[in-house]
Symmetry: C2
Subunit: 249 residues, 2 copies
């Protein structure tokens, strides 16, 4: 934890696949952030994330028109990937809430996000949806100093997404009693992967609920109040994090 | 639950203290919503919340320049107040995140929110802060059909807020190990009130953490990633809801 605290005072950059001692060109997005936003100079220290579990202490070697050259000098910390792998099938939502959920998914240790199209999904996925979500995920990753990337997949219709393979599959369903989620999570501390799905504004139709049941999703009520679509997804992220990461640690 | 489903199809209005059979003038905010936003007409059915646990089926008696007169006709549902009472001491945050947290506090069954000013709080409370938060809370209450109000207090400095009385007091502290929160909540299922506090952007200072400890707040780590200030507050709301409401039900 001391290393983490040290590195928090350093500006942090993504340097996928960087190796210690080997000069590395930052990509254009990271170069721009270093040069034009944070205005670092040659010789300054920085933190570098290799996106494979390592955070290095490094320095800026040079900044020129070709880009920004950096070097990783010493390993600050290494972390294993989080277990279990949390997979969230997330609805497309109004008002950019899906981007917000992706930001939170990074903070809360989610492994993979798959946007899902359902019967009552009114928002259409734009052509740049995945790229936009990936950018938001990278920003969030730097902010919370997460060492493994969040994987973001192309949007899928529910009929395909429901077939996903995971040791535990849960869907939020308002018609379900309140007990199931606690019981399901209590008996699932040892799973290797867990998949959660929540519906869009308006929820799942009865046909969709039947489809999810058919594909081994367990229904879970989230209490007697009507949660907004983004709250339901956030709720499952927080509760999954608490039960599957924190509680067992 | 059938009643709740029935009433979800009806527009819902706040009518504090309404009694069945007695004509009742909606307040100006609710009258505006009924007349100008949802455009209901005299004779139409609606749901009325008395803010003391009751939802009534009612109808519009008349709409004129004086306002909107309604009547509660039959009780759709009654609920006891949620127990334990969850109290959240919330930091003032940038970008209107505090309003967002108030909206979520309503959905997640929080009893009371007190905005708190700390050493690293950079946002200043405006003169209309409490009124603004109360309005957001009312909107959220109608949306999630909550039957008891969320209480919102005037902002307090941390030195005063820390003295609050509650059976369980928890503060989010990044320097704390990850176990405490799970253990604390596991042993607290029977408390009558629980108070949670999270810090602003930048967290609590060491002096503030010492003050909170002195006033019986238990420190809780929320995992090894750095959560944004609004995420930490949301996380505690979700986890408190799950552990103190859902799990014991």
């Amino acid at each position: 934890m001391d290393h983490a605290c040290l590195s928090k005072d350093l500006a942090c950059f993504l340097a996928e696949g960087i190796k210690p001692g080997v000069p590395y060109w930052l990509n254009p997005e990271e170069s721009h952030h270093l040069k034009n936003v944070l205005r670092l100079k040659a010789g300054e220290k920085l933190a570098l994330l290799d996106l494979e579990g390592r955070e290095y202490l490094g320095k800026v070697l040079k900044i020129d028109k070709a880009g920004v050259l950096v070097k990783a000098e010493s390993l600050l910390r290494y972390e294993e990937p989080l277990k279990p792998k949390l997979i969230f099938l997330l609805p497309l939502l109004k008002k950019d809430w899906l981007s917000f959920l992706v930001e939170k998914a990074v903070e809360l240790g989610v492994y993979e996000v798959i946007p899902v199209l359902t019967e009552r999904t009114v928002v259409k996925p734009g052509p740049n949806l995945t790229a936009k979500l990936e950018k938001r995920a990278r920003q969030s990753l730097k902010q919370c100093r997460r060492l493994w990337p969040l994987h973001i997949k192309e949007p899928l219709p529910l009929s395909k997404a429901a077939k996903i393979t995971a040791d535990l599959k849960v869907f939020a369903y308002e018609r379900e009693s309140q007990k199931t989620l606690a019981e399901t999570l209590k008996t699932s501390l040892k799973v290797k992967s867990a998949c959660f799905i929540t519906g869009p504004e308006g929820g799942f139709s009865r046909q969709e609920a039947a489809l999810l049941l058919k594909h081994q999703f367990k229904p879970a009520g989230l209490g007697h109040l009507i949660l907004r679509a983004e709250t339901a997804a956030l709720y499952l992220m927080c509760v999954a994090h608490f039960n599957l990461f924190l509680q067992k640690s």
